[in-house]
Amino acid sequence: MATFSILVTSAPFDTQGSHSALQFAQAVLAQGHKIQGIFFYQAGVNNANAWSQAPADELNLPKAWRDLQAKGVALHVCNTAAARRGVLSEPESTERGLPAHNLQAPMQASGLGQFIEMLNVDRVVQF
């Protein structure tokens, strides 16, 4: 068994990166390997926007991430990169006096330090 961390830096929907990451992650688990976590950074943080809506006949990415998390894969989002792009956790939103937040479970608001801690794996793959 090998351990993986996956870094998602590309925007969901606008690019294929998140879909590739998802398919790769599913294949990693299917082969009995472990995913230490998926870290969303740069435009990849938009994956954590709980308000994103796909038409019914397209892949529901937020749901796909939830299903992956249900299999024990931690989903971390860089707070700073997310805030820059309008994706805010509850504490971040409250601190700035905003009326609501759109970063919520199963996505976890983390810092880049979390990604650094995720480097202790056999392979890091970036999409």
Binding site: C78, N79, T80, E95, R96, G97, L98, G111, L112, G113
Partner: protein, 112 residues
Amino acid sequence: MEQTIEFNGRSIAVDKAGYLLNSQDWDEALALHLADREGIDMTDAHWEVVLFVRHFYQEFNTSPAIRALVKAMEKAYGPEKGNSRYLQRLFPEGPAKQATKLAGLPKPAKCL
């Protein structure tokens, strides 16, 4: 959310945690006022760090994280002052966070 501090007849914009939104608003009198709000009695040692952090920002365009602050202080003033215990004693709520605030700089990123 934008809030303001009333100081010497001026309205200074700060964020919720009390960091200045415009570092150009800063002057030494305002720094004393900010220190007062933090419950810090500014000594020469405090001034040295606050001015150092401000200089660091002006030179590198980033607020130093604690580790970087310690290393930079060590390079400038030697190990006596370039160590986290010394800095922590001056700024009990975290030297990078508090000195940055008193220097009128943006809050260091949460990631750090």
